[in-house]
């Protein structure tokens, strides 16, 4: 009667055995998520962050280094505290913050370490070091943050910060990971690939308590980290610091360039900030403060602020006119104030006199001669052709486009083309009388302080320039700097024409900027005034010295300081003396500049 029951039992044994095998097949063979979870469990990817390269000034003085900081790490599974209140007091952390951080760590991994308290100070670390063994599941990990021995050159050096989601998606090299630090501005950003070095990765096996159990796959997947390269910048720390002192309490820029090489000697953006503010645990808080500061300390004025060039542009006009053959040293024009306002000076003037006295009507007439050469019988067409030809010549002075300095965010300024005016007024609806302001560096024309400093270098070099740059050597090797900084750029203007211009610029000082004159140092300079529709004009001055063998070319902008002969020329003069002589012989002038306060 029961004869089929042994068969049923055998069948059930086979059936349930098969159920086990199917279930095992599903989790072992068809589903690989368990394999990933297993690796997440037992394999720890330990990133070996290399030391970021250091930055030195041109004389080998340290500008940026790495300072060790300490993170308190926690392994949630191991961690337990009997007395939370005393723990919080001891480690100097709020209870809510502790709980929040611990929960975040738990969410990341139950068995792998996560930061519990980030960036413990040296003092705190020294205090807690010996007591750490009293707690289970916590240990200290050392990292380093950027540090600046001198609170100087903040905008030039830039800062590093955690990589953003956007940057991560754009990163085609796939080098970066969430939480990595990356140069975000200045030298730190531009030379990021050199400075960062290369991360090393070690795959370690850990047990359930997070205890190291040796290399994964005998270390076949591991890579060694390579330290970042040290960088020597072209900055002269002493000059930089002096310039920052002079511009303290003002808004403006100072850019000084070595004309022979294009090396940037000082790069001052005022107001500035202490670069140490944007490092370590205070980064977020301070960044928000600086970013909301009405004086915009994070605004990198030397390359981002754009102003009309003003009278200084008359020098370029003279050179273009000479090269075109429109002007000669003997071209004499009257100071006709019905064309445009001027100030008192001998009348009429030749080209030399026009530069020396910055005669507005002279350039009004000279510019018309350049623009309207009667190539076309149609006045409108003739103006278009003339403007574009002129623009081409002007742009060769490094104006109207980015110079290509080694700094992201550089602005190119603007030298208007006929297309621009066609867009504003319509084709055939504008002529010289519409655009004559360009003749004296006003109107739809914009330059950056860096371009103006480069202009001073061009005048010093008699017609050529090197793209201004911040880099002198990488890893001690000057040949490793980018090619474009070793290439000479020509303006296309005959060096012979620069003699007259240089002479006029030396002479000009005694008229418009007598304060700038230094005994025994021949300075060639030109004042300018950048018109400011919303307040006091900006004071501008460019210069180079010594005239016979130029070592420094400089552009100074002081915002709202009025006419260029005052604040800007004095500042430039002091900077030149500081650089060439090492000390200041005119304390009164120094005091005058230091006490000037033009932030309204």
């Amino acid at each position: 009667m029961e004869s089929n029951r042994p068969l049923i039992i055998s069948f059930v044994i086979i059936l349930l055995g098969a159920v086990l095998l199917v279930k095992l097949f599903l989790i072992q063979v068809t589903d690989d998520s368990y394999l990933r979870k297993a690796e997440k469990n037992a394999i720890q990817r330990i990133v070996d962050h290399p030391y970021r390269g250091l930055v030195y000034d041109r004389n080998g003085k340290l500008l940026v280094y790495n300072n060790p900081v300490f993170d308190l790490m926690v392994i949630p599974r191991e961690f337990s505290v009997k007395d939370t209140a005393s723990f919080c007091k001891f480690f100097n952390i709020k209870k809510e913050a502790l709980i929040e951080n611990f929960n975040a760590a738990k969410k990341y991994s139950w068995v792998k370490p996560s930061p519990l308290i980030k960036q413990i100070s040296n003092e705190d670390f020294a205090r807690i070091q010996d007591y750490l063994i009293d707690y289970r599941g916590i240990f200290v990990m050392t990292r380093s943050v950027r540090s600046y021995p001198q609170p100087s050159a903040a905008n030039a050096l830039g800062y590093i910060g955690e990589i953003s989601g956007n940057q991560l998606t754009r990163d085609e090299s796939k080098y970066y990971r969430q939480g990595d630090y990356v140069g975000l501005s200045g030298v730190e950003a531009y030379y990021e690939p050199d400075l960062r070095g290369r991360k090393g990765v070690n795959y370690r096996m850990v047990n359930v308590r997070g205890i190291d159990k040796g290399k994964f796959k005998n270390g076949d997947l591991d890579t060694i980290s390579i330290a970042g390269k040290n960088i020597q910048s072209t900055l002269d720390l002493e000059l930089q610091q002096y310039g920052e002192r002079l511009l303290a309490g003002k808004r403006g820029s100072v850019v000084a360039i070595e004309p022979k090489t294009g090396e940037i000697l000082s790069f001052i953006s005022a107001p500035t900030y202490d670069p140490n503010q944007l490092t370590g645990s205070k980064f977020g808080q301070n960044f928000t403060l600086l970013n909301h500061d009405g004086n915009k300390p994070l605004f990198n004025r030397p390359v981002m602020a754009m102003y009309p060039p003003g009278s200084i542009f008359k020098v370029v006009q003279s050179l273009v006119g000479l090269q075109e053959g429109i002007l000669t040293p003997n071209t004499t024009l009257s100071c006709n104030r019905s064309l445009v306002a001027c100030h008192n000076h001998p009348n009429p003037v030749n080209l030399f006199g026009a530069i020396r006295n910055s005669c507005n009507p002279y350039y009004h007439q000279a510019f018309r001669m350049m623009i309207n050469q009667e190539v076309s019988s149609n006045t409108y067409r003739d103006t278009q052709i003339g403007l574009d030809k002129w623009r081409e010549s002007v742009m060769r002075f490094g104006l109207g486009g980015k110079l290509g300095v080694d700094m992201y965010g550089e602005k190119g300024g603007s030298i208007p083309s006929s297309a621009l005016y066609d867009k504003i007024y319509g084709n055939g609806r504008w002529k010289y009388s519409t655009i004559y302001s360009l003749s004296i560096g006003q109107g739809e024309m914009l330059v950056t302080p860096l371009q103006m400093a480069n202009l001073a270098a061009i005048f010093a070099n008699k017609g050529h320039y090197y793209v201004p740059h911040m880099i002198k050597a990488i890893d001690g090797d000057p040949n490793l700097i980018p090619e474009k900084f070793k290439t000479k750029n020509h303006t296309g203007v005959d060096p012979a024409y620069f003699d007259l211009v240089q002479e006029a610029m030396v002479e000009a000082l005694s008229g418009t900027a007598a304060r700038a004159i230094i005994k025994d140092i021949a300075i060639a300079g030109k004042t300018g005034t950048a018109q400011n529709p919303s307040g006091e004009d900006h004071s501008v001055f460019i210069a180079f010295a010594p005239k016979e063998d130029p070592q420094i070319a400089i552009a100074v902008y002081v915002e709202n300081a009025g006419w260029g002969g005052r604040a800007a020329a004095s500042t430039a003069s002091l900077m030149i003396e500081k650089y060439l002589r090492g000390n200041i012989t005119r304390p009164a002038l120094e005091t005058y500049v230091l006490e000037g306060n033009f932030i309204y």
Partner: protein, 424 residues
């Protein structure tokens, strides 16, 4: 001597071969479970579990020899005495036993620890065989059903006092034995229905199940026909009972201590408490699942080796196998178990006495239950109950108990012709 030679040749070498294969696999997996690359020791090292297991295996071989040379009549004659002895031990265990992990399941004699619940299994199987020896023992009659249930229930009850829910549950495996010996079908249909209903009650809305139960009842009524009104009434009672049962499941589950509740719920949702109750199952599945088709290689497993899986050398030994030998390794071991079980069914059916056959099915019941429930537990198909994988898991009590259980049957089998002779 010629006599014993004769019986020696009658021994079922197939079962013995399967037994030693399983014991050997178990042993090398225990070594893998405790292996530490940074502090590697030999598999024979007595300071680690594989070394101790080797001692257990050696002593198990002694036990085997003792059983094989003993008088086969001994087991039948002593069956009720042994049963009584272990019942007394089980009563004493919760009182004088050593407390480990909140359970008093162990006896300590000097450096020796024994778990009486493991040994009570073969004694119970022997007792069952003994009382069912007579052909008059008819399991279709309630009187005999109650007697059999009494023999099974008594040790289970005392084990519950230790408390060891898993070991107590093992005794339900004897229903396989009872099934073979003529327990009516209806109990099994009812039991399977109740189990399915319990799973459904946890998984889906009760009202849907009630509608389903009523629907099924109506369909059955349709087939029975109105004439057979007695059956219709019985069915109606059953339907009402099941509806009440479905509602009571939720109630009972909600009354369980939270950690027991979670042990059940974690089967349906492993993420319920991944760091608490879910930890064992989640880590066990990760270990097995990460093995893939062919495994990570012997001694190359990371999950079991680095202690992510708790109890990895005892109840969760299957994880080591799954991780290091993959699905192929699991297939081999499961195939070995199934082959052994089918072989035992074949042996049991060829017995000439009811005593030997009943005992044989007792062995099958116990081994099958352990095998299926243990592996189900490691892959998350059954709540975590602490029962070992036969011949595989680390531990002297469990290895000895399973060895005695199996070899008494092999001994009885080798004398099957002789026993017949005595009977006639």
């Amino acid at each position: 001597m010629r006599d014993s030679d004769f019986y020696f040749r009658k021994i079922d070498w197939v079962s013995i071969g399967l037994y030693f294969l399983l014991v050997f696999f178990g042993w090398i997996n225990i070594y893998a479970a405790v292996y530490d690359e940074q502090n590697a020791k030999s598999i024979f090292d007595l300071s680690i579990n594989s070394g101790s297991q080797m001692v257990w295996i050696a002593t198990a071989v002694l036990l085997i020899i003792l059983i094989l040379v003993a008088d086969y009549r001994l087991f039948e004659n002593l069956s009720l005495v042994l049963y009584a002895f272990f019942i007394i031990l089980l009563i004493l265990t919760p009182i004088i036993g050593k407390e480990i992990n909140g359970q008093r399941a162990w006896f300590e004699i000097g450096a020796f620890r024994l778990q009486p619940a493991e040994f009570a299994k073969f004694a119970t199987a022997l007792a069952l065989a003994k009382i069912m020896e007579a052909n008059t023992f008819d399991l279709s009659k309630v009187k005999y059903q109650l007697r059999a249930l009494g023999i099974i229930g008594l040790p289970a009850l005392f084990i519950l006092f230790q408390p060891d829910f898993g070991s107590a549950m093992v005794y339900s495996a004897f229903f396989i034995l009872l099934f073979r010996e003529g327990m009516p079908n209806r109990y099994y249909v009812l039991a399977i229905t109740l189990i399915l209903l319990a799973i459904l009650a946890i998984l889906i809305e009760n009202n849907f199940i009630v509608v389903g139960v009523i629907g099924v009842c109506l369909v059955i009524v349709f087939f029975i026909g109105k004439k057979n009104w007695q059956k219709v009434v019985t069915l109606a009672f059953l339907g009402v009972f099941m509806i009440g049962y479905v509602y009571s499941i939720d109630f009972v589950v909600s009354k369980l201590p939270p950690h027991h509740q979670n042990r059940i719920m974690v089967l349906f949702d492993p993420d319920i408490d991944p760091l608490g109750v879910g930890w064992n199952v989640t880590q066990s599945k990760i270990a097995i699942g990460s093995g893939g088709l062919t495994g990570k290689g012997y001694l190359e497993g990371t999950q079991t080796k680095f202690d992510f899986v708790p109890e990895q050398h005892t109840d969760f030994i299957f994880c080591t196998l799954g991780e290091e030998f993959g699905w192929i390794g699991s297939l081999v071991v499961i195939a070995l178990f199934i082959t052994l079980l089918l072989r035992l069914v074949f042996l049991a059916e060829r017995q000439k006495t009811r005593f030997s056959r009943v005992y044989g099915y007792g062995v099958i019941s116990i081994l099958f239950f352990h095998f299926f429930i243990n592996i189900s537990m490691t892959v998350g198909m059954f709540p975590v109950v602490g029962i070992p994988l036969p011949f595989f898991s680390y531990g002297g009590s469990s290895l000895w108990a399973f060895t005695i259980l199996l070899f008494i049957f092999i001994k009885l089998d080798s004398h099957r012709i002789q026993i017949l002779g005595r009977m006639s």
